[in-house]
């Protein structure tokens, strides 16, 4: 554990990612203290104000609401959606991927064909269908986005497992008498963690955008509660007159994704004994 911390501190990308995400989490936790306004306060004197006008650092939107404030509050929703839906997708997707990859045969084929069926739907449509069943709301949106992510996770993890299980060290473990459970948890899982981390951090941004899509359709977070995705989609009508409405939430999503990717990259390197000095 000590050496893990030491290596973590040494890895520039892990530290940078960790800092970005920490700032995000602080914003989310202490939103009321950091925000300069109320997120649903409408300042009718400054509708579509440019950044800096009338004490609005990042300007205001078409209702005169402070964009900085809404970004700070929005980080609560966006972080939650990103982490929870990626968590659902990665967890269930990995289980299915490991089963399909390790056991192949009939069970594996069944899982993968079902997977293909899910993948053949446009994912927004699938999410909408899921929301129709679950009903609108933030929590259901996270579940729907998570479920939509399962097939792609399952596919990526399966191919990683197919690779690893042909390695001689897996045969060696079996020859020593290791059970399937032992082989999976002790040899396969540690070796697919890199793929899992990278794919999860890539999917984080996808989850934030998906939430925006669902919110835009009125299925996710309900107005006036802000989320980065919904701010972005509201901004699309005002791109010409008030580009800052789109730029700031877009930047927020970008920076957070970069943060997760950096952290993921760093973690992968730290966890790989081959890269240790």
């Amino acid at each position: 554990m000590k050496s893990f911390l030491r290596r973590f501190v040494k890895s520039k990308s892990a530290v940078a990612g960790f800092l970005i995400i920490s700032i995000n989490i602080i914003f989310a936790l202490f939103a009321p203290y950091i925000a300069t306004h109320q997120f649903d306060d409408m300042d009718f004197m400054y509708i579509l104000a440019k950044p800096g006008e009338g004490g609005h650092i990042f300007g205001t939107d078409d209702f005169g609401r402070d964009i900085f404030t809404r970004l700070v509050y929005g980080s609560r929703i966006s972080l939650l959606v990103g982490v929870i839906s990626v968590g659902i997708g990665a967890f269930i997707g990995s289980i299915l991927g490991i089963i399909a990859g390790y056991f192949e045969g009939f069970l594996g084929a069944l899982i993968m064909r079902f997977n293909d069926a899910l993948l053949s739907f446009p994912y927004v449509l699938l999410a909408i269908a899921m929301m129709a069943v679950l009903g609108p709301g933030l929590f259901n949106a996270m579940i729907a986005i998570g479920i939509v992510m399962i097939p792609s996770f399952a596919r990526v993890i399966r191919s990683a497992v197919l690779n690893i299980k042909e390695e001689t060290f897996v045969t060696a473990a079996k020859v020593l008498g290791a059970s399937n459970m032992r082989v999976i948890f002790s040899h396969i899982l540690p070796n697919i963690v890199p793929s899992l981390i990278i794919y999860s951090s890539l999917n984080f941004s996808g989850a934030v955008i998906s939430e925006a899509t669902l919110s835009f359709l009125g299925l996710g977070i309900q107005p006036p509660t802000p989320s980065w995705g919904s701010m972005l989609s509201e901004a699309k009508d005002f791109l010409q007159v008030a580009p800052h409405m789109a730029i700031f939430p877009g930047l927020a999503i970008l920076i957070t994704c970069v943060g997760f990717n950096l952290l993921g990259d760093g973690l992968r390197d730290i966890l790989d004994p081959r890269l240790r000095k």
């Binding site: 390695e167 001689t168 060696a172 020859v175 290791a178 070796n191 004994p273 081959r274």
Partner: protein
Amino acid sequence: MKLLEVRNLKVFFPIKDKLFGKPDKFVKAVNDVSFHVEKGEIFSIVGESGSGKSTIAFTLMGIYRKNNGDIVFNGKKIENIGDFDLLRKRIQIVFQDPDSSLDPRKRVRDIIGEGLKIHKIGTKAEINRKIEDVVEKVGLTQDILKKYPHELSGGQKQRVGIARALILEPELLILDEPTASLDVSIQAQILNLLVELQERLGLTYILITHDLNLVKHISDRIMVMYLGKVMEIGSTAQIMSGPLHPYTKALLASVPVPDPEKRNEDEETLTGEIPSPLNPPEGCPFRPRCKYSMDDCWNELEPIEMKERIVFCHLYKEHENSGGV
């Protein structure tokens, strides 16, 4: 005393080219192979790639399922997976490629100790003592235990592989091309170690290799395989000095002689390719490449026993039971 006896072993792999239904084609990787291994000897299985020698090893380890035949270990017939599980501690294997046979994410201590953990042998202190013991036996120092495989040299990795197999104190060790992927200078070290261990621990080896020089130096008896079939079984001296089967002759002739003066011009070097195991030749599998082939060779082979050696070749039919060559 016979430690291991294999009778009429058949291992076929189905070729699936249909979505549904049963496969109708098989690769006959091991086709009707019988041999035995005496306790304390080094028994070599020699053949080209695709001859089925590794398949035999993996079948003995219970990784592949046999389609037919008997495996008898220490007088006990080994039938199903449960029997193989009981054998884990008594038969172990050293793999060819030390690079991929060690989990890159585990320390050497955990790699070597895994067998003990799986079989729940001993307390933590006992496990540690056994690990330290076996590390010494294979000629490594204790500081290697906290290293990861990528920090080791090829020779060290192979020693770790040997230690992992030895820690369960097996009676029979299968060596699947143990030196094939090592540098020449390291090959000799590993070989010496294996011979030394065999003498010290009273082990029995099945050595699987295509390297005839290696076989010549350390093995007691040799089995030559071709396309899933046995060609010839005999003592090392017998086979090295007087090979009977045309395939064995060709194999021996293919070994480079370091002296250019002694180079033999009319050697029986092999021409052609090894046939596809999917569609093996009728009768003797070596028939299409054999320069002595005759009409008889289209018939199934019968083992011909002569003075404790067995040869599968129609050329020697008339010598059967006569005891001479």
